[in-house]
Symmetry: none
Subunit: 327 residues, 3 copies
């Protein structure tokens, strides 16, 4: 799986949008898991994205490079499929290759005839028993995390009039998008990858408004897709900055869906997630980021929570590096 990165896939500095990469990752995951779930006789189904694990953007990709995406099923539970997707950027002029992403996605097979019916997943064969056990552990962990975020979902972004630079209100942004046919799967629901691309677009604008430089996606926290979004809905994607470290910005993004032609249902929160951005100089070096000015109690609390996530991630990474050094 490969595709050349085009000008529209990138910002004006030539760096491919994180959202473009997330969309490719999700498409690869959707194909492999739909294929797997239809591999045994039975009701035809389409795999719908339920969750993406935390994803780091390890190195930037540029216009003209080829993105190579490979996907593998690594675990199956009764009703879900875990897919591991790797992305490499390849400069086809020099031959240089770099790993840009390693992502883990969870899919659920929905019946083509009845979209509310979750079908059973054909089990995969494991080379070693430990692989199954580790997969099961990952499955249980993500299940717990999904429940937790579901409870957090009531938050709303309030508009601010005449905000000061570097405050939360100054950079917060939102867009609306009318869900068209090409945004949707065969079931008539929005591809998870389309949603993630819009989320990254909003988060990127928040980050750029805050620091007014060339910014790139550094990582995305785990994203849970609690609710499907139907063709013809209007989706509102809103982002606000929650935390800044010396060289990174954390942006919280909400996706609200309004299936307005369908009167039985009002607007609802479909997805939310945290994106982390860094600011780059013309030479591609990370730049210091202006500190976020928090004003309200809520903003201060969210800043502290963001700091917690930042320190936790930093600690995890250091532990991994030490472990790697020992081996």
């Amino acid at each position: 799986l490969g595709r050349i990165m085009r000008p529209d896939d990138a910002n004006i500095a030539g760096n491919v949008h994180g959202g473009t990469i997330l969309k490719m990752i999700e498409e690869a995951g959707a194909i492999i898991s739909t294929r797997h779930c239809n591999s045994q006789a039975g009701e035809p189904c389409v795999a719908a994205l339920a969750r993406v694990e935390r994803t780091d953007f390890l190195s930037p990709m540029c216009i003209g490079e080829v993105a190579n995406v490979s996907a593998e099923i690594t675990y199956t539970s009764r009703h879900s499929v875990e897919v591991q997707v790797n992305v490499m950027s390849e400069n086809i002029l020099t031959g240089a290759k770099k790993v840009t992403n390693k992502a883990t996605l969870w899919y659920v097979p929905l019946s083509l005839k009845n979209v509310n019916k979750v079908l059973e997943v054909p089990p995969i064969q494991y080379a070693r028993k430990e692989q199954e056990d580790e997969g099961k552990k990952r499955y249980e962990e993500q299940k717990l995390d999904r429940l937790e975020t579901k409870q957090r979902n009531g938050d709303v972004i309030f508009p601010v009039i005449n905000p000061e630079p570097h405050t939360v209100g100054y950079s917060q942004s939102s867009l609306i998008h009318l869900v068209g046919p090409s945004d949707c799967t065969l079931l008539g629901f929005v591809h998870g990858g389309v949603t993630m691309k819009l989320m990254d677009e909003v988060a990127g604008i928040v980050a750029a408004r805050h620091c007014k430089t060339n910014i790139v996606t550094a990582s995305v926290d785990a994203i849970n897709f609690h609710e499907k979004i139907k063709k013809g809905s209007v989706i509102t994607v809103s982002g606000r900055m929650t935390f800044t470290s010396n060289k990174s910005m954390e942006i919280e993004v909400f996706v609200d869906a309004d299936p307005f032609v369908d009167e039985s249902r009002g607007r609802y929160r479909a997805v939310s997630a945290f994106f982390t951005y860094v600011s780059l100089s013309k030479e591609g070096k990370p730049l210091p980021v202006p500190q976020l000015l928090t004003e309200t109690e809520d903003e201060k609390r969210r800043f502290e929570e963001g700091k917690g996530r930042y320190l936790q991630t930093k600690a995890k990474r250091q532990a991994q590096m030490q472990q790697a050094a020992q081996h």
Copy 2:
């Protein structure tokens, strides 16, 4: 110039978006006027859209139909070109053709070397002297109108928290868009057609939120492009309903540009316009529209102004029909 209409060009009822048609119209106008302005030896230039006259959408276009777009230069002043663009929809299965739009656009040639320099336009030949005189009259009229709207441009859309259905705050909407390379002309500024497509997208969402049915663009009032928008800018497109008649809705749309990487300049109003929408039943018949509930003094004033425009247009149309009947 022709193109098959695809699902992505249309809403879920299969009606092609007015914005898609406006974008095709503008591309045809840009080609013919750039070609004309470079037809004599001299500095190379690109024609930039300055204004679109009021445009009616005479009949809906559907997925699978072919849009045939033809353009003709009808007047040249010293520094501007008037282009008449006609759009016909053609059902290639039945052979049925319908006029869907007749639009008049004004372009200004900008030097490729110095984008702030307006070049001279080679004069066209008129078959009859009256054509030149009528063209000059249209030129003077639009010049006046452009000055007037420039003064109206300070208005801002304020957010409303927990609005009631059918109020202005309930349906008002906005989107942000990061200007990419494919949105821009050779000069590195946004194509007028791209801006109009985004404006129609927002206006359509406002209309759909208000009446929760299938809506289509009925007309667009004259649009003036006062300010260019540079590649890499973030544009915010906001819409609010200003007036409803029994069977139509008027939506005011603002486009603000934020060239945030360019520190010398803050956010500015680039374009504003009025779009009129109608609501259609499944059989394509116009439906009654819920009346807009106005709350503030400003909303009431804008409603009355909208009513004025509505009655004026109605009177003009009746006069034209009587005139046509007499001939």
Copy 3:
């Protein structure tokens, strides 16, 4: 039919992709032949692409130029239509026009009600009897050729681990694409032009990987569309280099379709074709190409076959030039 070429239509050197041009050619052919086949009362139908004759890319097209596409029906058999499509590039700044392509396409009318039913084509009028006879000869020739390629279709591309530069395995590439609604005709099958664009994308990646320079499409051998591809299918497009001359590369491209939700059918070969690329210097001059290193017996055989095609084309061209010189 005309359109301004945008950054996304081109590679990073600014040359418009051959695939973009092939897609425009096919759209023009589909419009004119669908229109013709519905010109008499009878069952409504959509013209489906059956074959494209060998097409040369006579001169490169650049971003900002306008592509003018014109189409004409040149022959009709009982069940097929031959369309001649010409493409000219126009620099609207200088007024310079160049013929970039002359293509011949064959379409077959499929009933809108029953996609497996081929309808009859209304006969066209010929100005001279010889035109009909020459058309009939072309018709018979292409019919034969279609049968031959059908038999060749079993071939598969195997991955190679750690390949050496300039071997076949080193540059071979593949991409997968999930067929969306905007890729499809009214019948719900992929437009031939969409398939050709993907094929050119893969062939271009293979060529760039081999010679690591700016490459452009020089020609495409006759392409036969044996099998339709349904909406919702996954298509895998794979390319491998088969032959290099001093200044050109031949790449074989396969398209396999997997209607994976549709249980009645497995993966199948839908199309295959040969693309020829040349490598260009920064000044647009053809560069020498590294020789392809063949390793296996099959690779050596394919190289010889490619050489045969190359010499045959060269001989034909020389004969045409001599003929032209004599007149």
